[in-house]
């Protein structure tokens, strides 16, 4: 029987034990040793950037720039006189990095043509406040450190970063998260494109201050990781001194399974993506380990395993797509034989993906081959013709049980591609390569970079250490908001429905809520539900999200109290208020044709309505009757009488 890729995919999927997340239970995660930790990034709300006086938070369109600068990143030697793995990889890709600069948002500091100005003290203060809230041990002296990045995301080739505190904790309702550290750092460039050997960045975001909170890998299932991330966010936002909105908060999620490796999923923009991403990653690792066992059982010796290759010059029709995406002078079509690898290239890794993708992703990143960049002997959807396969196999003197990859490339890229393929296959015989992966919205990930080594931290010789005196820390301590967990417990005591907590914390509405309660005497459970349901709904409908100043709500509730309206009137008004935040409350009521009607007047209409409902009916369902009467009265009653009270009266 000949090899069937589709059957093999299904078989390997079953072997990996993969199940959809909604079916997964804690014991499933325990079985494969789910382990995860977080690195949560949060931009700080400062006027200026971290090491220069450019404005923070002003962004440009891709094509709106004043100048372009080109740089190449070169690996520097580690303390042992060796090059870091990532560094070498980045050098191998021979990328030309282009920076687009807009005068308004970047100066000579951002492009590394001027040394840093003193650290932004506003940013430092906020970072210390958040460190104190995170129960971290605050350092005595801040030392700016250079953390190397050779992907070009920072023109210097390193990020200036500094530790503010170590060893802290954050309480969640059912668990405490241990924190490793909190650092303050400058944000990186935003990538515009990365095609072939040219990567383009823009520099507007570059240099904005942000903090990174790093947890221990204490999370034991995907939902817990998301909850932890939410709580770190809530804490950050409780200061009111951090940025919100698109890209202001991003997280890297570290995941491994038992026997696997630390893989970092980079730049996850939404916390709600975390569960699916971590679920799929832990199973990707688990499945790749099963594939390793499968290979080792065949008796492959990883020290002597080698690929062979040849150029294909005839019958090139099947490779049209490859040749279309390939670039450079003198493009060749190369076939690579992978001895004894049959069964791997269609081996399940993530939903809809196989080990082929592991190779293809690396060919894109390391050898700069645009996708589609390879065809294999195990294509599931459009398998290669048997005649082509056997021809190529013959040319390579392939044996039974070997697998085949075909790619198109030119010049130096061919060598890099061959190395990349062989390297990734040998890694498959060892285990899971440590790497950073990019998240996709479908919950899967793709290879991004080799995980940088630990030896990429250098002291910054351009800046002096900054002492943090006790007095300064005490001053910051005295102005801290209360802990999120205390607020959580208050909401619970007040009987506020649990489903609105996330909304209240993520918008940092708790202080406003307390103020409204204090000034108007509104019931906490009512205002809590109002915010989490009515306000959230109105905000979801509205187009000017983010522009609405929540403090208007305080004035609204004060107005209702002063005018002796029932607070429920707010539910009717909120939609229009969201649309026209500057409109007088009276005018909103007028536009809603709201009339003030006396309590007694409303109550007086009940008997008539009851009678009307009963007309022509033999038997009267009391509940139906009440609901009908209620429906008739609601419009005029709202704001004028407490609806629960009205219901009782009926």
């Amino acid at each position: 029987m000949s090899f069937n890729p589709r059957y093999n995919y299904g078989k390997s999927l079953k072997e990996s034990g993969w199940i959809p997340r909604r079916k997964a239970k804690q014991q499933d995660y325990n079985r494969i040793g789910f382990m995860s930790g977080l690195e949560v990034h949060q931009q700080l709300l400062t006027k200026e950037k971290m090491f220069c006086h450019c404005p923070a938070g002003i962004f440009n369109h891709h094509d709106d720039f004043d100048a372009e600068i080109i740089r190449h990143m070169r690996p520097t030697l580690s303390e042992l006189g060796e090059y870091d793995g990532t560094a070498l990889m980045e050098f191998r890709t021979r990328k030309e990095i282009v920076y687009r600069i807009k005068n308004e948002t970047a100066c000579t500091y951002e492009v590394d043509d001027t040394p840093p100005f003193p650290l932004n003290s506003e940013a430092l203060g906020i970072a210390i406040e958040i460190s104190l809230l995170s129960k971290l041990n605050i350092v005595g002296e801040v030392h700016i450190t250079r953390k190397q990045y050779l992907d070009g995301s920072i023109p210097t080739g390193f990020q200036r970063t500094a530790i503010i505190g170590v060893e802290g904790e954050l309480a969640m309702p059912k668990k405490k998260i241990r924190l490793i550290q909190l650092s303050i750092e400058e944000d990186s460039c935003r990538e515009i494109s990365d095609i072939g050997h040219r990567r383009i960045y823009k520099t507007d975001r570059l240099g904005m201050p942000l903090i990174e909170t790093v947890t221990y890998p204490d999370f034991v299932n995907p939902d817990e990781v998301m909850e932890g991330c939410d709580y770190i966010r809530f804490l950050n936002r409780s200061t009111g001194k951090v940025r919100t909105g698109m890209g202001a908060g991003r997280q890297d999620v570290n995941v491994s399974c038992r026997g696997g490796s630390r893989v970092e999923i980079k730049g996850v923009a939404h916390t709600k993506w975390i569960p699916e991403l971590t679920h799929n990653e832990v199973f990707r690792q688990w499945s790749l380990l099963r594939m390793r066992d499968f290979l080792l059982e065949k008796g492959i010796d990883k020290n002597n395993w080698k690929t062979s290759n040849c150029e294909i010059t005839e019958n090139l029709d099947f490779s049209k797509e490859l040749l279309k995406t390939a670039s450079g002078k003198g493009i060749k079509l190369i076939a690579v034989n992978l001895p004894a690898f049959e069964g791997c290239l269609s081996w399940f890794t993530q939903p809809g993906k196989t080990f082929k993708n592991e190779i293809s992703d690396r060919l894109k990143v390391i050898a700069c081959l645009e996708k589609p960049n390879c065809i294999t002997s195990e294509e599931i959807d459009n398998p290669l013709d048997d005649s082509i396969l056997s021809n190529v196999r013959e040319q390579l003197s392939a044996k039974e049980g070997d697998a085949l990859i075909i790619f198109a490339a030119a010049g130096e890229d061919i060598k890099t591609a061959l190395e990349t393929i062989e390297e990734r296959c040998i890694m498959a015989l060892e285990g899971i390569p440590e790497e950073t992966r990019k998240s996709l919205s479908d919950g899967t990930t793709i290879f991004e970079r080799v995980l940088p080594g630990a030896d990429r931290m250098y002291p910054d010789t351009d800046t002096a250490p900054i002492p943090l005196e006790d007095e300064y820390i005490k001053k910051l301590e005295s102005q801290l908001p209360e802990d999120i967990i205390d607020r959580y417990n208050k909401l619970k005591d007040w009987g506020v429905p649990e489903d609105v907590y996330t909304y209240i914390f993520s918008r940092n509405l708790f202080p406003l809520m307390e103020e409204i309660i204090g000034k108007t005497g509104v019931k906490p459970s009512y205002i809590g539900a109002f915010l989490g349901h009515e306000l959230k709904f109105a905000e979801g409908q509205s187009k000017n999200e983010g522009e609405f100043n929540y403090r208007i709500l305080l004035r609204l509730f004060e107005f209702l109290k002063e005018q002796d309206y029932d607070f429920a009137l707010a539910e009717v008004m909120i939609k229009d208020l969201m649309k026209h935040p500057k409109m007088e409350f009276e005018s909103i009521l007028a536009s809603l044709r709201h009339k003030r009607v006396g309590r007694d007047e409303i109550l007086a209409r009940i008997p008539f309505l009851k009678q009307k409902f009963a007309e022509g009916k033999k038997e009267i369902d009391e509940l139906k009757q009440r609901n009908w009467v209620m429906g008739q009265l609601k419009a005029s009653a709202i704001g004028n009488i407490d609806l629960q009270e009205l219901s009782k009266e009926i």
Binding site: I70, L77, N137, V139, H143, I163, I473
Partner: protein
Amino acid sequence: MDKDIFQGYKGDALEVLKKYQVRVWGTTRVETTRGTFEGTVLPRAENDDDKHIVIKIITGYNIGIDIRNITSMKETGYKKANYKIPEKQFPVTPGLPKVKLFGTGGTIASRLDYRTGAVIPAFSPGELYGAVPELADICNLDTEKVFAVFSENMGPKQYIALAKAIGKEIEKGIDGIVIGHGTDTLHHTGAALTFMCQNLPVPVVLVGSQRSSDRPSSDAALNLMHAMRAAGHSDIAEVQVCMFGPTSDEYGLLHKGTRVRKMHSSYRSTFRTIGDTPLARVNRNEILPIKKNYNKRRNDKNVKILPYFHDKVSMLYYYPGMSPDVLDAMVEKGYKGIIFVGTGLGHVNKELYPAIERAHAKGVHMFMTLQTLWGYVHMFVYDTGRDMMAKGIIPAGNMLPEVAWVKLSWILGQTEEPGDVKRMMLTPINDEITLREPYNGYLVYQGGVPEVEEFIKKVHK
């Protein structure tokens, strides 16, 4: 315990380390009023205070601990780091030119000692090859450390030592010379070597870096490649400065040693040719001449080494309201030559006239140069200029102020006869005074003109 085990610590911080018997490079657990910290004790920079101890924590970051908060401290281990740059045999390739690299202390290729922040210079051919392997495709390299000083400490002694070393190498038949140099006074050295090494048969290329090579985006490697390319392969047998043209990693410019000036404190493309166009562009593969006339490479060894320098020459940067006693003081202290850096076309105020007369009477040689840097001294336009010439100040054409200072020092090292001094000053050796300024020389991008803005947008800065 000897001092070395507490590298850089002093005063109170030193006492704390001694008290708890914790050494630099010792791993330690520190209890403080702000909590517990763990890491490796690092050396402290000499100029930092004595109130903090620096440790490297497990995640690689450095932090400082305030000694006033320390309640106890314990050494839990010891791990001294040992740093060196790897050496790889620099390959000899038949057919490639022989290039000599002179080291002067500038950190053209170096690696940061990542714990102390100190810069370890790479200098032997093997080290350079380890850091920039591409050099082996350009030339066969040999290196020699002539001396090691910071750029700002480069001076007459060093100029003379370099000039003699250049003479010796040419005698031995070298194909080109590269001098690694700190960037601050690169242009002073460029001028000095132009005057001291005349009739050069091979290129002498001065090179530095604006970002040390421990940084991934350093200009050092590319500058070295450009300089080696120019020294080994170029036809231009002059003293040149080779540094970035644009701030982008694209190409370098070769500037005449007499017309170049550092114009930005930190930009990569800080060096500019003033009053003329650069000699040529250079990239990894080729030299693209900009100027048509230059001294060509020759096969002979007929270089003239003239290693002279007088150390009693100064410069006087004029400002409105300058008092004559400044000039008097210089004369009194025995200065024999003074380069004026005047305003506009070359002016100073009338209050200085009596002092100028006194200086002239004492035989002090005085020349006028310009604060504008661009353009020629022109003292006939106004009466004041004619007055000054009458009082003994000689206009120095479009010679740059620093170059005039170097040249007058070099001349006075040979003669003090007024006629000879004037003749030698005003007779250009290598374009330190040019007879004409090309219309496209004054290409300083000041912005504001739409066409220039459009141009800047199109080319890589």
